[in-house]
Each structure stands twice: as C-alpha cells, then as structure tokens.
Amino acid sequence: MTRRTLFDKVWDAHSVVSDGAAPDVLYIDMHLVHEVTSPQAFEGIRLAGRTVRRPEQTVATMDHNVPTIDQLAPIADPVSAAQVEALRRNCADFGIACYGVGHRWQGIVHVIGPELGLTLPGTTIVCGDSHTATHGAFGALAFGIGTTDVEHVLATQTLRATRPRSMEVRIDGELANGVTAKDVALGVLRTIGTAGAAGHVVEYTGTTVTRLSMEQRMTLCNLTIEAGGRAGMIAPDDVTVAYLEGRPFAPRGEHWDEAVRAWEALRSDPGAAYDREVRIDAEELAPYVTWGTTPAQSVAVTDRIPDPDSFTDPSQRESAARALEYMGLVAGTPMEEVAIDVVFIGSCTNSRIEDLRSAAALMDGRQVAQSVRVLVVPGSQQVKLQAEREGLDRIFLSAGAEWRDAGCSMCLGMNPDFLQPGERCASTSNRNFEGRQGRGGRTHLLSPAMAAAAAIEGRLTDVRTFGARLTGAAS
C-alpha cells in the first residue's frame, strides 16, 4: 500500500470527484464565515436563486469590524454597521448559526472554531480568511478562500481544487527559555521566506512540535500563510484529544469514541514522502522581532537591523531598503534601542488564554512605560471571561494597559483601533505590511511575552534578560 502523509489522508477522504486531469471536487466539512468576505457571496446565492446547501455545517461570527470598546452600542461607522447587519440578515435568511456581537461565543473566527469544538481532526475547514491555516493545528485541512469560493461552498458544500504539494517542516529540540511558538513560526519564515511554502500544505513534525500545547500549535499553523503555504497541519495526538473533549460541539458518547479511534490513524505513514522537506533546530531559535514589512524580515532581538547591502539577492536588497525607509529605521541600530509608541496584544495569532497569561506574568506588579499605549484584546468573549476569572484583566489595567472586548482589532485596523501615521507598534499579530495596522503605521511582530516586556520598557526588549535587569535595577 502506498505510504501517505497526513495531508494525503485528509485530502483523499474528502475528494468527491477526482479524475486526475481536472481539479478535484473536495468536500468541505465546516465553513466558517465572517462579515467582511461573505456579503457578496450571499448576494450571488440570492441573484442565482440558489440556497445554502448545508447551513448546519456553516457558522458565522463578527470579528473584523467590531469595536472593542462598548461593543454592544450601535457601530458608529455606518459602512461597518451595514456590513455587520448584512451578515446578521444573511444568516437569518439562510438558517446559519451566527455568534455575532452580543453572543457569548462571539470572537475571532479562528479562535472560536477551536474553542467551540467545531474544529476537529481529519476534517476540511474553509473560511474567507487567509489565517484559516490556524485550524490545521488539530490535524484538519484548513485553508483560506476568496469570496467566489465562499459562494461555491455555500451553494455546493464543496470546492473545485487542485491538489497542493506536500512539505514537511521538522523542528526538533528544546526551546530555550523565552522562545515561544511565535518565535518558532518567525524562525521558519526567516528560513524559507514569504513564498517558501507556496503551493504546498505544510505538516509540522518533530519533538518541538509535539511538545507544544494546542494554543501554541495554533500560533505556529496560523503563520503558515505568511510563508505562502496553502495550509499548515499537525497530526492529532493526546494533547489534541484532551483539548477537544467536552467542547460545546465536540462529539459526545459513542460518537466521541468513534471519532477518537478515527483520529488515531491520522498521522503520516512511516517513510511517507513529502515533495519538500525542511529541518529546523529548535535550539538555534531565539526571540525574534521583525524589522521590515514582510513577516520574513526579522532578526533575533539581540541583533542589529541589517544593512540592505548585506543581501545578495537584488530583489531582497531592494525590498530591505524600501522596508527600512518605510519603517524609519537605520541599518546597524541594535533592535533593543528601537523605542515604541503602541503595544498590541491580540489577533488570531496570539489572543488566546495562554498568550494573555504569558503577557500578564511579565506585566504583573509593573507599569507600562509612560509614553506607550497598550491594547490587550482577547480573541473571544470566552477568552475574555476566562481571563477575568483569573484576574488577568486587573493585572493589565493596574499596569496601565487597556482591556478590550473581543475582535481582530489592531491586527488590521478595520475597526476604530488603528495606528496613526509614524506610530511604531510592537504587535503580537501576523502581518507587518505597509499600512496594515493603519496608514503610515510601523509594525514589529513578536511574541506576547516580548510585547509585554516592550510595553514595560518602552522599547524592544529581550524577554530573556528583562526580568533579571529589573531585579538588578531594584537592588
């Protein structure tokens, strides 16, 4: 029998029509929907006189546009309000569950899928959102699609898709203290580049990966798209099963037992061939911070901003020069000397409870630097509630940070949370593109712990020496 990868197994199990020449018709188990990329798809369904084939396999939430202050008040921006209202109406008309503003399950679509138990191993999941890769942490095949494809899934519960190639990113070894899943992801991006996984579904393997918690695995898979990967996947194991058991939509009783048995087979066969393989030594990874305008442009926080002339590839050299100009940075400056104006802790990459705990642990009993504005935005209402139960909100508030309602917020600034021109932000999000967090805004991507350290110091700071330095200063 052919030895197959995890990806092969999930793809094969969902291929409804496959004739080799044309793209496959791929069955979609779960379709997640948000307000930004769906209105034109629903309009298309209406105009063609079609209907939603499987509303029970479709779940909607509101995350991109929603304010994170006074979330229940009417949205002040009429265009945003109309988009949110359109989703509410579309869901009502087509019988789709909508966990929108005011619902206790509202949140970032990639946070609520897993926490509700809608994200299950071995399933296919799509969403009109590139960070759908997040759900691959459970051994699901999960990928982002455009609005025409959203309409296709609404109408047929399938997609016509060409089988991507497979790629193994194997990461072995212990992570040093202060090095997180975010740093692993940024380290992978440094190694393979912004298009290093294009056309591929990445499977993350190795001892480092299997030791990660589910939330850390989600952070790692989330950033696969920044390397151009179609999806990221991690084989389900006991950690996955323990996370899912008892979640609201996780299977129960004999269905649960049957599911767990099925998930045990969801791993790449020994010796299965990938189209491409990359190996990363976890012990060589450090806490990274981006200096440029692509997520691959990063250095260890203890390094200096690189000189564009140090890049041999002409397009990388030009891109670096342009990035430094946009970022207002000078080559050769130590990263730790870069002062910041704003800290954003949130986004589908890093807004889960473990992320908030990690930031709170560093901010506990300390004050954020006077010149710095700090936004802490939980990924969902459930994360918010959990954090408040643990007293994390009080830690953030006493430190001088703002504690907000759930949503995408300053990751992309579609709601009122965005940077002013020239403002420099230490951000736990996923994209440092020009203008991403607000026109003229300058983004440095890093882990939640590094963001918290930056908030206290008012500049980019090595989290590994941060605590020691403070203790030293106090004595």
Binding site: V16, A21, V25, Y27, D29, V36, P39, Q40, A48, R50, E56, Q57, H64, S80, A82, Q83, A97, C98, Y99, L118, T119, L120, G128, D129, S130, I145, G146, T147, T148, E151, H152, T156, Q157, T158, R160, T194, A195, A198, G228, R230, P248, F249, P251, H255, E258, A259, A262, T294, S315, S319, R322, L412, G413, M414, R431, F433, E434, G435, R439, G440
Partner: protein, 207 residues
C-alpha cells in the same frame, strides 16, 4: 464570468516583489458590501499621499500607464490576506491580466475565479517585460489565452495554465455551474460521512 481570449493593452510595470493584497486594496475599503466600485481605491496608499494628492512617481499616475490593462510585477504577487476585493479592484481599474514570476495561491485562485488572467513567466522573462515597459512607456502587450503567449515589442513568451482553468476562462464558465453537475456524487458522499463530523443544529445557537 466574462470570457478571456486575447487582451491588447498597455503594459504597466510595478517593479517590486511581495505586493500584498493590503497594498492592492487597503482594509478601509473592505467594509462595503458591493462587488464593484473598488477601482478608485486600487493601490490607494501608493497612489496618493495622506491628504489625497497623487504621488507623481507612482506608475498608475503617469499618463502613459494610466489606461493600462496588463500589469507586470515581481514575485509572490498578491500575498497576504485572502480578500478577493484585490482582484475586483484590479479589474475595476481596467486590468485584465497580471504577469509575475509567481503568485500567492489564494490570489491566483481568486483571479481565475473572476476572469483576471494570472500569467506566470520565468523571472528573466518578467524582468525583460518590466524593463521594456519602463523604457518604452505605453508599449502594447498582447496576452493571448488561445495560444498561451505574451507578446510585447520584440518579446514573445509562452506560458502555461491548468487546462481546466484555461477552458473555464476561455468560455467564461463559472465553477458553481460546473459543480452543480456533480450533485449526485456530492449527495452520495454526504450519506457516507461519519456521525461525529462537525455540525451545528440551529437550535443550539441559544444553548
């Protein structure tokens, strides 16, 4: 979908790699619920400064390129966000084809779905087209999907496209219509799905 057979139009050089969809159409314009009207906002922050004054050095603001319909750009074009609005904005501005050494997967799929032809050529071929368009502003480019060639000046390159996608573009077919012919297979597949697969009963929304 409007069929794509052959496009004659001005070649517009955008000489940078990793052009992300946040640049093609910034987020503030994604709040609209329409599918049209995004052209005015294409490359918004590169085209004009914060006060709305056009940047004279941006390619789309130079008269010889303003009416261009074929864009040629660096590698990994369309990376980042899945927003199909990026394709709609390019089309609404008048572009019918984009030529690059590589495209981000989601953008590539979106472009094909909407009838914007993504043409992948080798790095040196794209370099030659960029140089030609920069040296001879307004030069015409012919992108022919019937014989899969790109021609401009003395340059002529062959390109490849998935045969099924090529057919749907040539005939202006849409995927949903094609897939609806597979409804029997889809229903048969659904009947075999395990009971543990995810589903949300409408009643559970208020659980």
């Amino acid at each position: 979908m409007k069929p794509f057979r052959c496009e004659h139009g001005t070649l517009v050089p955008l000489d940078r790699s990793d052009v992300d969809t946040d640049q093609i159409i910034p987020k503030q314009f994604l709040k609209r619920i329409e599918r049209t009207g995004y052209g005015a906002f294409l490359f918004h922050e590169w085209r004009a400064d914060a006060s709305g004054v056009e940047r004279a050095d941006f390619v789309l603001n130079i008269d010889s390129y303003r009416e261009g319909t074929v864009l040629v750009a660096g590698s990994n074009f369309g990376c980042g966000s899945s927003r199909e609005h990026a394709v709609w904005a390019l089309q609404d501005h008048g572009f019918r084809a984009v030529i690059a050494p590589s495209f981000a997967d989601i953008f590539h799929g979106n472009a094909l779905s909407c009838g914007l032809l993504p043409v992948t050529l080798a790095e040196h071929q794209v370099r030659a087209l960029l140089d030609l368009a920069l040296e001879e502003p307004g030069v015409e480019c012919i992108v022919d999907l019937e014989d899969c060639t790109v021609s401009a000046g003395d340059l002529r390159f062959d390109f490849q496209l998935d045969p099924t996608k090529r057919r749907t573009l040539l005939e202006g077919l849409d995927d949903i219509t094609l897939t609806l012919h597979n409804l029997d297979e889809i229903s048969a597949f659904e009947a075999t799905r395990p009971a543990w697969m995810p589903a949300v009963a409408r009643a559970e929304e208020t659980a």
